[in-house]
């Protein structure tokens, strides 16, 4: 009887640990701004400086080990913060999507930040992004 209860106790502890939400790992190295650029297949229009370049500069501000803010600019008229803690350089669309998706799916991050990440994910517009959005909206 005692052994069975101990086993139950341990099982519950394991379950509790498994149930804890995942965290975004890329942005927990240091607080401050992270930056990368990515070529978006979507024409960003003339919303910024009239520059029609498809290159986007994405900034993520990390605080206490997690993203708290996202900004994105047309790289041609980059108005991002000057002090960059971590410059991730030029990323492929898939790499950029993976970073944004990491934020979207991290339940510990503030929902507003996750929603911003989702917006930029759709704006950069890869096939995989639309498949993800399709799956998300089809899920129960």
């Amino acid at each position: 009887m005692m052994r069975a209860l101990k086993a139950l106790f341990l099982g519950l502890l394991v379950l509790a640990l498994l149930a804890s939400p995942a965290t975004a790992s890329t942005f927990d190295k240091a607080d401050g701004w992270y930056k990368w650029t990515v070529d978006s297949p979507v024409n960003m229009g003339s919303s910024c400086c009239g520059n029609l370049s498809g290159e986007l500069a994405i900034y993520v501000r990390s605080k206490n080990g997690g993203p708290v803010r996202i900004r994105a600019y047309n790289a041609g008229c980059d108005k991002g913060p000057e002090e960059i803690v971590t410059d991730l350089g030029a990323l492929s669309l898939a790499q950029s999507d993976a970073l944004l998706l990491e934020i979207v799916q991290a339940s510990k991050i503030d929902m507003d930040v996750r929603e911003d990440a989702l917006l930029w994910l759709v704006l950069t517009g890869s096939d995989e992004t639309f498949e993800y959005v399709d799956r998300l909206l089809s899920s129960r």
Partner: protein, 300 residues
């Protein structure tokens, strides 16, 4: 042993309640993400967004999500998306149908708006209301004028001309006067639209006493710079008690106490003076005190 059982039981309870809460939070989170994903699609090329939006509308998703999907659809300015939106407006039921119709109004696409004509003709009262509201949102006065012109009964006509009144469609309402003739609902629409010119004309025209009385009172509601003088002139010129009464009502509604005071001072009939004084009291006019002072001085 007993302590250990208590701890284990408590742990089970805590875990179950935490899991239940987490599940509920997860569902909320999922809903928020779905909404955000749908909204983000507004920035996507229509050919990418349309199939996804279409799937949401065909699914068992919540009404809230579907309503948002309709909005996204309305913002895609392509022939395909507008055709889909009209189809939802025609084939859906209840709240979702009304929302699809409303979204056509918000989108303002002329072809989709034209498609609402058939939906109005075959729809029930709720659908007809939703179509009129969509035309109001799109400021499509011509479409509402068309409905008023082709109305098969007084109720339909009345609702359409009221909407034209709300839209301030002076020109269309005046055109309806020559086409359909005058009616109570049309005069009401002139009042709603604030058409002082037409109401003044009707108020001075004694050929249809019923319309004239309604127009006189409506003129009081609409107000305007000369309304007091117009109503005073009508009151003085008419020998008809009904017209006089309507003119006083108009002055009351317009708050023209100066004009009523003028009538009071010019009157030599005691009964009439009493009636006008009572009206000034009802209007809360400060002039009442001057009249009382003058009367007391006269008595002294």
């Amino acid at each position: 042993m007993k302590n250990f059982l208590n701890i284990a039981t408590a742990l089970v309870l805590v875990l179950f309640s935490t899991t239940a809460l987490a599940q509920s939070d997860d569902a909320d989170e999922q809903d928020s993400l779905k909404m955000a994903a749908l909204e983000a699609l507004i920035t996507a090329p229509p050919e990418r967004a349309l199939p996804i939006v279409d799937k949401v509308l065909a699914s068992n998703s919540s009404t809230e999500l579907k309503e948002r999907a309709l909005f996204i659809l309305s913002q895609m300015d392509t022939s395909d998306s507008q055709t889909r939106l009209v189809a939802y407006a025609r084939d859906s039921q209840g709240e979702l149908q009304a929302e699809a119709i409303r979204m056509i109004g918000i989108g303002g696409n002329s072809e989709a708006l034209a498609g609402l004509g058939d939906i109005y003709a075959s729809g029930d009262a709720d659908v007809r209301d939703a179509v009129l509201e969509a035309y109001l949102i799109a400021d499509d006065t011509d479409a509402v004028f068309e409905i008023a012109t082709n109305a098969s009964n007084e109720e339909e006509f009345s609702e359409a001309v009221q909407m034209l009144g709300v839209m301030g469609a002076h020109e269309q309402l005046r055109e309806l006067r020559s086409r359909a003739g005058l009616s109570e609902s049309l005069v009401e629409a002139y009042m709603i639209s604030g058409d002082e010119v037409t109401l003044r004309e009707l108020a001075l025209d004694g050929s249809n006493p019923e319309v004239q009385l309604q127009a006189i009172e409506a003129l009081g509601v609409v107000g305007g710079d000369d309304v007091g003088q117009t109503l005073v002139d009508l009151y003085n010129a008419s020998g008809d008690e009904g017209v006089k009464e309507a003119a006083l009502q108009g002055l009351l509604i317009a708050g023209e106490d100066g004009a009523v005071l003028e009538l009071y001072r010019n009157s030599s009939d005691n009964a009439e003076k009493r009636e006008l004084l009572e009206l000034l009291v009802v209007m809360g006019s400060d002039d009442v005190w001057d009249i009382i002072d003058s009367a007391l001085e006269g008595a002294e």
